[in-house]
Structure formats: C-alpha cells, structure tokens
C-alpha cells in the first residue's frame, strides 16, 4: 500500500516537474547542457534539489525502476502468500458455525414458524436461497437442521487474476524493452528506398506521400503508399495512415511525419551518373551558421544530406541540401524553387563549396556535376518491433477482468438454522458482512422471501386440511 503511494508520488513528480526528452537524458553531455532549462524555470535551490533527487528523468531513473521492481516482487509475494488461504476459504468454507453466530452476527433475522416442522422450514429456506443463485450446503447441528449458502465464491479468485495481470504487464514491458526496438526518425523520400536496419534484411520504399486538410486548416489525412522489400523481393504493399500502420511479421511501419525532399542527380567527371536519389530534408535548421560560417539568418530552413563515393571507409564527399522552410517568408539567400548545396570533404568542419542551384539546372562542383531534378516530399515513418505487445494486451485484460470479478461478484455467505420448538420451529438467518448496504437490503429481502414462502406453506397446508 505504501508502495503504491510512493509510486503514485513518483509518477506525479514526473508529471509536474519538467522531464528531459529521452534523447537528451540518454547522453550525459546533452543532459548536463539541458539542465540549464530547469535552472531558469525553478531557480535555486529547487533546481539543484530536483537534480539531486533525479527528478528530471523520473521514468528512466534508477530509483523509479527499483521501485517498480520492488512493487513487482511484493505483488508476487502478496499473491503467493494469500493464495492458500483464499483457495481454502473457497473450496472448504466454514459450513458449520456455532449457535452464537445467530445471536451476534451483524445481519440476523429470526422467524418463528408455527405451522411447519423444522424439516419443512429447512427445505423452504434452501429453496429460497437456491432461487437467489446461492449454492446451498445442508448440515445438521444436533437436532437442528441448518444450511450454509454462498454465492460468487469464485469471484475471490479474481484477485489473483488481477495481480498476476499487473505483474505480467510489468514483465512484458521489460521484455519488450529488451527484445524490441524502434526507430522514430526513419525518412524515405517519395520514389526512394531505404534499408530498415536493426538486423533485418528489409527495406522500405515510399511510392508517394499525400497530405489533405479540412477547410478550417486542420489535418484531415496523411498517407504514404509504401512497398516493403525483404532481401530485395517485394513482401508487402500498403497505404499507411496515422491510425493504420503496415504490419509485417510484428514489425510495424507507422505514418508519423513528413517534410520536403529534393531529388538530386550527380555525375562524375566522365559524365557517368553516380547518384540519383531523393534526399529527405528532415532537419530543421534555424539561425545556424550561414554560408561562410558567419551567423546565419533567423529564417528557418529544412536540410538533409547524402554522401558520395567511399575511400578508406569514409565518404569522399558529404552533400548538405538546404531549402527554405517557409514559402510565405522569402529567404534572402535561397530563392524559392532553389536548393543550396553545402559540400563537405572528409574531416573538414567547414564546407569546401557552397552553391545555390535552381530546379532543373546543373552545376559543376568539386569535379562532379550536380543537378537538382525536382522537389518532392518524404514520408516520416516510425518503425517499431515489440514481441511482447500481445502479452501486454492479454495481461491488461486479465487485470481488468480480475478486478471486475472481485468488485461485481462479491462473495456472499448466509447461514440458516432451524430449531424445532414445541409450537413448530424457530428459523434463524445470519450473515457476516463488512457494512454493505446493498447486501443488508438483500438479506432483508431473502428473509422476507423465506417468511412469505413459509406463509404459503401454511396456506397450502390449511387448504389441504
């Protein structure tokens, strides 16, 4: 219980205190730089305190994981400890109770039966209980016939199903983390094909990308026509949308984002085409270094790069392609419909050449002829592989069904005892409950029903007599 409180507190801290993005938290240097943000927001000493408690990356922190591990362990221990007791109480309930119970139980009733004998009253009580979905176990206390009755006894097992579900969700999450992988930044220009990597032999081609908007300007639909190849052979083809991924052997391809792409053709000195492909301009460049390393304009641009040739394990050239991001706001350096090429040679921090190239034109740079063939779009795809995800859904189902069994099928137990009296019989009913208005009401209904049945019994008997 304390644990659940602690975890709730920890998760809450993770909600209200700003969290470092996962990509930042993963690298110590980036994280150190990122720490300036909370310092500005919370001020000292709070920022340092939160830092010391590792509250900026709660969900990847050691203490949070340790807490979850302890939670898992204690759920297991609790569940295993409770199991024998609960199983015993379900399979071997306390059928025989001492007579005192009928005097002291929180819910009790007494009916005196003048016209039926003890055996008949016993039969009536059993019939009424059975009619109310109780399981009835008759027993005998001396010369008093008695009844034990219970309902929903298997609901108790729900608590195991529930807690096993919880443990198995946590287990499946760990498994998914260990054996699964994901790629959030996979970009394929229209008409291009890119290798998926991650130890697969897959590659994905984007045939086309389309975006559509409502008249109000909100996004209506994003879709990419994609083709999946395994070892070069087509294995799947689908139009993927935001809520409709392509699934191939558990590897899922989600339409996630999009952006501009440029198709570039490059010929070497002999005029042979050495590169003809789209390049996804997936980086947003803002106010970065300008043409010659001087601080650039605050205009935002999109960029991406490709490499050419390969010598000693290094590309001979890296080509950055940059395009103005905003068509409404003219870029002072790059006219609309043109790209700027920044070409880097190995181990050089600065570009060796910078050229602005209008669409359809060619330019000779560093021994190659570059041509900006045309502008297209790229499909941004999130690729994920999680072998444990079905286990997650199964466990979630167990958890919810288990708790619903406990909540909505509460165990009900009733004892009845009929003592023969000279005048007929004395029928007593008792139930133990932890303050439950609905059960108290039902108990009342049950005793009334028994009473009524006994009445009928009397009428029938009188009628026969």
């Amino acid at each position: 219980m304390l644990l659940i409180g602690l975890i709730a507190g920890g998760v809450f801290a993770g909600t209200v205190i700003m969290q470092a993005p996962a990509s930042v938290a993963a690298s110590p240097d980036n994280f150190a730089a990122w720490l300036a943000q909370p310092r500005g927001k919370y001020g000292e000493p709070w920022a340092a305190l939160f830092g010391a408690l590792d509250l900026y990356r709660v969900f990847s922190s050691l203490w949070f994981r340790a807490l979850l591990a302890v939670l898992t362990l204690s759920v297991v221990v609790c569940t295993v400890n409770r199991m024998p007791g609960i199983v015993a109480s379900v399979t071997r309930p306390t059928v025989r109770v001492p007579e005192r119970l009928f005097e002291r139980a929180p819910l009790r009733a007494e009916l005196s039966v003048a016209t039926a004998d003890a055996g008949q009253a016993h039969a009536v009580a059993s019939r009424v209980l059975r009619a109310n979905r109780f399981r009835v176990v008759p027993w005998q206390d001396g010369d008093a016939p008695a009844v034990f009755a219970d309902r929903n006894r298997f609901g108790k097992y729900g608590t195991f199903i529930n807690h096993i579900g919880i443990v198995s969700i946590l287990g499946a999450a760990v498994m998914g983390g260990a054996f699964g992988w994901r790629d959030d930044g996979f970009m394929v220009p229209e008409g291009s094909t890119r290798a998926v990597g991650h130890g697969t032999t897959l590659s994905l081609k984007s045939e086309s990308f389309d975006d559509e908007y409502w008249p109000q300007g909100m996004a209506k639909d994003f879709r990419s026509e994609v083709v999946l190849y395994d070892d070069g052979a087509e294995v799947a083809r689908k139009t993927i949308r935001v809520n409709d991924p392509l699934d191939y052997k558990g590897i899922r391809f989600h339409q996630a984002f999009f952006g501009p792409a440029a198709v570039m053709r490059v010929r070497d000195g002999e005029g042979k085409v050495v590169h003809e492909d789209g390049v996804a301009l997936g980086y947003e460049l803002k106010g970065g270094a300008g043409a010659d390393g001087t601080p650039g304009s605050p205009i935002s641009r999109n960029g991406g790069y490709f490499t050419l040739g390969r010598r000693n394990g290094l590309p001979t050239l890296a080509v950055w392609v940059v395009m103005p991001a905003n068509i409404r706001e003219a870029d002072p350096e790059i006219p609309a419909g043109s790209v700027r090429l920044e070409i880097f040679e190995p181990r050089q921090a600065r570009p060796s050449a910078i050229e602005t190239l209008p669409q359809g034109e060619t330019r000779e740079i560093l021994g190659h002829t570059f041509e900006f063939v045309r502008e297209r779009q790229f499909s941004g795809v999130q690729i994920s592989y999680n072998p444990a995800v079905n286990l997650i859904w199964l466990s979630c189902g167990l958890m919810v069904l288990g708790s619903m069994a406990v909540f909505y099928f509460p165990l009900r137990r009733v004892w009845v005892r009929v003592d023969p009296t000279p005048a007929g019989a004395r029928l007593r009913v008792a139930a133990v409950t932890n303050k439950d208005v609905l059960f108290a009401r039902e108990f009342e209904r049950l005793t009334l029903a028994i009473d009524r049945e006994l009445d009928q019994h009397r009428v029938n008997k009188d009628g026969a007599a």
Partner: protein
Amino acid sequence: MAAFSYFAFTAAFITLGVALLAYLWATVGQQKRAARVATVFSYNSAALLTASLGSRWIAAGHAPYSNQFEFATSFAWGTLATYLYLEFKYRLKSLGAITIAIAFGLLVYASTLPARIDPLIAALQNNILILHVGSAVISYGAFACAFAAGLLYLLNRNDRVAWLPAREVLDEIGYKAIIIGFPAQAMLLILGAVWAYTAWGRYWGWDPKETAALVTWLIAAFYLHARAQRGWHGTRSAVVLMVLFGAVVFTFSGNLFLGGLHAYSGL
C-alpha cells in the same frame, strides 16, 4: 440536427439548474417533495443531454470528442449518469447537491466555449477513441461521485449534521463509486495504450496526460488497498477521495499547463 443539438443542450442546462436548486433545497431543508422534483429534473436533463450529444454525433458524423465543448458536455453527462445510477441503487439523494453542482459547473463551462462542430483531425480518426473517451466519461463521473460522498462525509463530523446521510452509508457509497471508476480508469489507460500503439507503435510514452491519468488510477488503487489491507475507512479514506478528485481535475485540465501529445485535441 446541429440546431436541435444546441437546443437540447440549452434545455438540459436549464433543467439541470432547476434540479440543482431542488437538490439543495431537498438536502438542506429536508424536503421530500423537493427531492422527488430534483430526481425528475435530473432524469430529464440526462435525457436531453443524451439527445444533444447523440444528435451532435449524427450531425458531425463522428463521436463528440473533437473539442473542449464536447468533452465538457460529455463529462457532465458521465457525472449525471453515474450519479443517477448510484441514486437509483442507494435511494440516497443528498449526494446530488454536490454531483449535480459538478455536472452543472461543467455545463456552465461548456456554455462559455464555442459550440461549433469541428472535423476530426487525422490522429483522432480511430474508433478505439470512442471507447477511450467513453471510459474517461464513466471513470471521471464515478470519481466525482466518490468525491461528493467523501466531502459529505467530512462535512458530517461525528454524524452531527442531521440533514446529511449517515457517515457509514457515505463511506460505502464512496467505495461503490470507486469500484465503478477504477476499472473504467484502467480501461481508459489501456485503450489509450492501444491507440498509441496503433498510431505510433508504442503503447506507453510517459506523455504528461497519460501519466496524470496513471497517477489518478494509482491513487484509486491506494484507496482500495488502504481499505482492504489496513482497514482505512472514514476520514482517512474520505481525504484520499479528495486527493483523487484533485488528480482528476488536474488530468482533465492538464493540457493547460502540461502540453504533450494530447494537446491537439484541446484536451
């Protein structure tokens, strides 16, 4: 259809206002007749609100969860529905003074928002979302009722306030509301995870809003365990119910200060 929806909303709004006054009068003034009037008006309001949301659904061609107006109206509906269920089960009306006030407050809030029918943005075009939001409607409604029971419990110190129900009953109703809300909240989280998995290939991402909903659920779990294992009842439990509802309000209004992926739906 859209015009009818708005008309029904206004009628539900007025009817619920009358119900609220009647509940207050019934509770504080111990008026049996006012209590009957309150119930009749609440049922009518619930029916009108159902008609309003239903006709909106038909008019828009998608379930009413595309903007904050629709959310506020749906949550008012959920609070009303869970309350009426509990009232029916327990025949206890004084909870109404608070729960109907919450539902009415939500409608007041809704009436300040633009009631236009928005198209669904790409990410929200998914039927799982109908169930996801539906679970939220039920769980938040149930937690609002639990809050009402807890609040009355705390108000009724030592059972001395004659016009309030017995504390024991309030304690139990709080629990009954939680056992409706807790599985519904679990479904909310799970369906959210299913949707996230369909849309982004990950079922959980510690997005602020989903995290806040998880905290809410954990607080409810805390309440259940405190009750079952430590025998927490009464005042301590009632305080947990206050905290729980605080978490619901925080989650509901979360996008105002949390940001994250849920921001685009305005919720």
